[in-house]
Amino acid sequence: MDWSFLAFVIFATIAILGSLMVILQKTPVSSAFSLVLVFFSFAGLYALLGAHFIAALQILVYTGAIMVLFVFVIMLLGQDEKTTDIKDTSLLFKGVTTLGAIGLLSVFLRAVMGSKEIVAKGQYSEEKIKELGGNLQAISEVLFKDYVFHFELVSFLILGAIVATVALAKRKNTYSGEYHE
Amino acid sequence: MENSQQLTALLIWPMLGSILAWFIPKASQRIYSLFISIVQFALVIYVAYPVITQTGQGLEQTLPWLSDLGIQLSLKLDSTSVWFVLLSGFVSFVVLGMKGQWYRRNTRLFSSMAFFLIFSINAAFLSSNLIVFYLSYEAVFIPMILMVGIWGSSTKANSVFRFFLMSFFGSILMLVSIFYLSYLYFLKTGIFSANLNDLLKLSNENSPAMLWCFAGFFLAFAIKVPLFPFHGWLKEVYVNAPAPATIWMSAILSKLGVYGFIRFVGPLFPEAILSAQGILLALAAFSVIYAAFLAIQAKDPKALLSYSSISHLGFVMLGVFSMGASAKTSAIVLSVSHGLTSLVLFYLYDLIVKRKEDVSLEAYSGLAKKFPILFVCLFIGVLASVSLPGTFNFVGEFLVLIHAYPVSALCTILAGIGVIFGAVYMLKFYQKLGFGVSSDAQVAEVAEDISGFDLIVIVLILALIIYFGFQPSLFLGGMTNV
């Protein structure tokens, strides 16, 4: 029983319980705060896996950006009162869903057992990363060397998201019905 | 086989007609259609002439079309197909001369569709590549559906759908069979081909697969002909269709099925046919009697004619399933004669209906007195339909039965009983229309007797029916050497 294992157990428990809370909370706001909990515990898990940069990003992006967005919208739409939809849903529906999830889980579990056989073939072992000057250094190098295409593409993704959101969420229809040329 | 470039003309000309029809003013559409169809008929005769005279010599033409898909535009005019092509040329010419609402409403569409129909029919009869055959076989639906739908007497879409769906169901299974055959051929030789000549190499195989393929073909053609349990679509469509469509369907399209049996099923699946011959003959014979019974109880004269068509085609199928060259020839003769007869009957019935509309008679009766010449013609038509000796139908029916008899006496006798019932319903038909006391005294002044184009054409056909009744050697001579 080493410390990292203990940390893992703690983070994992928080993550799972937190996610359960996300989907079982009555108000969106509490769901959102449960989600924050999950994000934090995930950050911890990343750190345990040695992905420190990712752990940091997790906090920054998810908790810092996405969650704020969520909370903002919740408040915007006035969705902070309690909803009872979880109770309204029929038991059968929930039951089937749970059964399905358990079934999937069992399949996944069986599948990930296969990961024990995985032989590492990448070049970025922990030593190598250290050699390169740490996690961030290594990632940056790979990101801007090999994955530059992805990177550019993602920029268009964000562009698309912006345009899409703007197009969707504009309050007033600015269309006047005539051409202005 | 002689290589000939003329066969494509039989396809190009109607296609051209179909396209040009859109540029012809409405008023002259009938003249235009007549012109195109007469030229087309003349073309057919010109092309077919050497085939008829030089017995056993056929014309062949192969154009590469979609060779990478195993499709070649191989056309073949031999002594089997030539009669069907001639028949369709003739029938089309007659039909397009008919006057009717199709020359008043959506005229351009009508002529265009008519020529497209002729094109597809010709393509189907000429093609010796199964895929091309299938293509044209199915292309026939499109104009047919439109004709029934647009100019038909009823807006009930169900009949059209039923017709289309049943036929399509059969034919698409045939397509699957064709695919499978060419796949078998591919397995054997490594080449994808749907040419009949190639696929014939499979015909001596006797495997379950061949039996299934046979079933696919059988279903397609049996629905088209139609044979007994597959005839459900027929009545409604025939009754609701405008006269040209009805004539085309009964005179030509049903022959597509017959032709399919003779041309493809017979040579491709001899084993399968032989093993199922009893059932097939029984089906054919039962079709004869069953349809005759339906005709007897039919109230609508057009329905009666439709059922009689099934009944007669039962005879044809009896000949086809008897196998053997002579029986095959007999079936072709009967097909042609049935084509001519049903042309006459439906044509004249349409004339009568038009006259009836003109004078608003409540029921048909005593019309013979008012339109004597029309009814003389109709009577000869009826006689041909009951295959009285001396008419072309007799030759066909007699030959069919005499060749079917050695194969299955029982079925022949059963079908023979249909001859009796044929007399019953056809006479009933004629009596209902022609005899008795007519209910309207003023008809004579309003509606005229048959005259002009109608008269000439009908007399011509009747003359042909009687002439071939005594001189069928034209049909028999060329076909014996096949």
Binding site: F5, F8, A12, A15, I16, S19, V22, I23, Q25, P28, S31, L35, V38, F42, L45, L49, A51, I54, L57, Q58, V61, Y62, A65, I66, F70, L77, Q79, D85, I86, D88, T89, K94, T97, T98, A101, L104, L105, F108, V112, M113, S115, K116, K121, G122, Y124, S125, E126, I129, N135, I139, V142, V154, L157, I158, A161, A164, T165, V166, L168, A169 | -
Partner: protein, 100 residues
Amino acid sequence: MNEPWMMLIVACTVFLIGLMGVIFRKNLLIVLMSVELMLNAVNLSFVTFSKLHNSLEGHISVLFVMTVAAAESAVGLGLVIALFRTLKTADSDQIQILRD
């Protein structure tokens, strides 16, 4: 070091919890959050496998997934807002007009 498959089990569990949330929560905002949960779980899985393989591909992937998640939630929230404008609700039961 912990057995990596344990990490994967956590990932899978969270993923499926997210899936369950998407399926049976009616509040569209919570549904969106559940989608975020699923994406997070995937991230964890990527990082774990990345570690197993001594590779950085997984890390990079996580970066992109995060971006995508952000973009997606932006569009999703935009859609929810648009829906809220017309239907005055963010309840998934209300959006069953299109059916059959």
